[in-house]
């Protein structure tokens, strides 16, 4: 049975990817699963300097999901290269690294630092964060800034380039034409959904920043629709994610045409769930008497 898939020139041993922000810097998960068994892991988004993130509370459970307001806390690219790269060098699986910045310059600086590390297979640009030079709207909401951001990161990296988008996209056609023109090689869809929660006891917003990102099974149908619509307007490979917890969830994304899938919040609940998803994919293919997973990708259009 063949589970190997490709995102353009990027070959993966299977389509199951650990999504950014839910597998830490990699090491944290080793007592729960063999990282070499997943298609790729995506290191949580790194910034040029350490970033402390948002004040608590940072998480609230919702029906069938969760909201988070971590605020991109991370140790910064330099400490990552020093403390975590040696461990990642012992792995044989693909290593993707998320990057973010408050300005385009910061994104570029992180990409430049990562360029030196040969072990890193791909950069995933998280464009769902606030652009401080544009009053805090996300990079996704301003197409000209998005174009400059992607072009400038592209100009400093030879690595496989993925952009991770969220539901803030206003016009898929425009965004996709930017990505295609600027030689983005794959698109991750979707980041969490901006959402809101009220603390009725305190009669106040639950989160200090009001809005927080909704993820988990509750968003899966929304994410599926995004993946479907995106694939109507681009031939770029898509990594589908949003609420995947089981093989059946993963299959929905693959059948719609995603070439790989990201496991996100559910890894927080069941840190070895990637292996269960993988096993479930194999069982499905066996039951359907299909010997190559590629033959089901995009079957539902």
């Amino acid at each position: 049975m063949n589970l190997a898939v490709s995102l353009g020139k990027m070959k993966l041993s299977n389509p199951v990817i650990l999504a950014s922000g839910t597998c830490g810097y990699g090491k944290e998960l080793v007592s729960y699963l063999d990282l070499n068994q997943v298609g790729a892991l995506t290191i949580k988004s790194l910034s040029i300097t350490p970033w402390k993130g948002n004040p608590p509370p940072r998480v609230r459970e919702t029906c069938g999901g969760m909201m988070n307001s971590i605020g991109l806390e991370n140790k910064g690219v330099h400490r990552f290269l020093e403390e975590d790269l040696p461990f990642l060098e012992t792995l044989t699986t693909r290593v993707f690294v998320g990057i973010w910045g408050k300005t385009i310059k910061e994104y570029v600086a992180v990409a430049q630092e990562l360029e030196k590390a040969r072990r890193i297979d791909a950069i995933e640009v998280n464009v769902s964060c606030p652009n401080v030079e544009k009053g805090g709207a996300t990079f996704l909401e301003d197409e000209e800034t998005l174009r400059r951001l992607v072009a400038e990161v592209r100009s400093v990296t030879g690595k496989f380039l993925i952009v991770k988008v969220g539901p803030q996209v206003r016009d898929w056609g425009k965004v996709v034409s930017i990505f295609e023109k600027e030689k983005v090689e794959a698109i991750s869809v979707t980041n969490s959904f901006p959402a809101l929660s009220v603390d009725v006891e305190k009669m106040d917003f639950f989160f200090h920043l009001k809005f927080a990102g909704l993820s988990g099974p509750a968003i899966k149908p929304l994410a599926l629709k995004m993946v479907y619509e995106l694939l109507c307007v681009t031939a770029l490979p898509v990594i589908g994610m949003g609420g995947i917890a089981t093989a059946s969830d993963a299959l929905e994304f693959l059948l719609l045409g995603a070439r790989a899938i990201g496991l996100g919040s559910y890894t927080l609940v069941n840190p070895s769930s990637a292996l269960q998803v993988l096993k479930g994919l194999e069982e499905y293919l066996t039951r359907k008497q299909i010997d190559d997973i590629n033959s089901i990708i995009g079957k539902v259009r």
Partner: protein, 254 residues
């Protein structure tokens, strides 16, 4: 691991204990550590619940929790013979070798300190146990402390035999009546208000205070970074699941 419910007991309407049999992984648990419990096999409630470990005997362990929301309510509905999915033991526990321990628990904060007291008693380290409860409802918590001595307790309503007030006032009364040996450590766990009040106790100056903190959590193993607690110097956050749940009171900003 899968853990099977061996015994369930309601101490009051809101307080429940579950004794579970897991695998050998739990035998290494030390006082202050916790487990992440999935209350059902569905995707709702989505997250696990972080619960302190109260007692470990071989691969059997006891949890005591308060019903505070729908997750803990579902947990309290589990029956003997049912299985739960449990991750752990997790986190960093208490230091175990003081010359003398002062254990200060508020309500369900008794959980890790009961485990600590049992361990200190076994190793022959002397300690005093102070327990504060809010109301008569929580009196059954006192039964756990029968085997320890000395024990002092307080209740915020007047109950015969108890100090009337909160546990921090009881602690202050205790501290003013004794002279402490070198190497004394204070161990505390309780509601946020109690922990904050401890920071203001003058008589604790110079005595290390270890506090076990409670927090909303996503994963419990250091990945999601949901359980941030500010560092004393304001330069970022510790994560309760991995850097704690036990911290020196002097290193966290509350």
């Amino acid at each position: 691991m899968k853990a099977m419910v061996q015994n369930k007991r309601f101490l009051s309407e809101k307080l429940c204990t579950l004794t579970l049999t897991g695998d050998e992984g739990i035998t290494s648990a030390s006082p202050g550590q916790f487990v992440m419990v999935k209350v059902n096999e569905a995707f709702d409630p989505f997250l696990r619940r972080p619960l302190g470990i109260m007692e470990v005997d071989g691969n059997t362990f006891t949890l005591l929790f308060e019903i505070v929301g729908r997750g803990t309510k579902m947990l309290a509905q589990k029956n003997v013979g049912e299985e739960l999915d449990v991750l752990g033991p997790l986190g960093k526990g208490f230091s175990l070798f003081p010359s003398f321990g002062i254990l200060v628990a508020g309500g369900r904060g008794i959980v890790p300190l009961y485990f600590l007291a049992s361990t200190l008693a076994r190793t022959g380290i002397p300690f005093v146990f102070l327990l504060g409860i809010r109301s008569r409802e929580e009196l059954p918590l006192l039964d756990f402390l029968e085997k320890f001595s000395p024990v002092f307790w307080s209740c915020e309503e007047e109950v015969p035999g108890g100090f009337c007030g909160d546990v921090v006032a009881l602690l202050q009364q205790y501290l003013s009546s004794v002279s402490l040996p070198v190497g004394t450590r204070v161990y505390a766990c309780g509601p946020e208000g109690m922990v904050r009040a401890l920071c203001r106790v003058e008589m604790l100056r110079g005595i290390p205070v270890e506090v076990s903190l409670e927090s909303l959590m996503g994963c419990g193993f250091g990945v999601c970074l949901s359980c941030g607690v500010e560092k004393k110097d304001g330069k970022g956050y510790y994560h309760v699941c991995k850097d704690g749940p036990v911290f020196l009171l002097s290193e966290v900003g509350l």
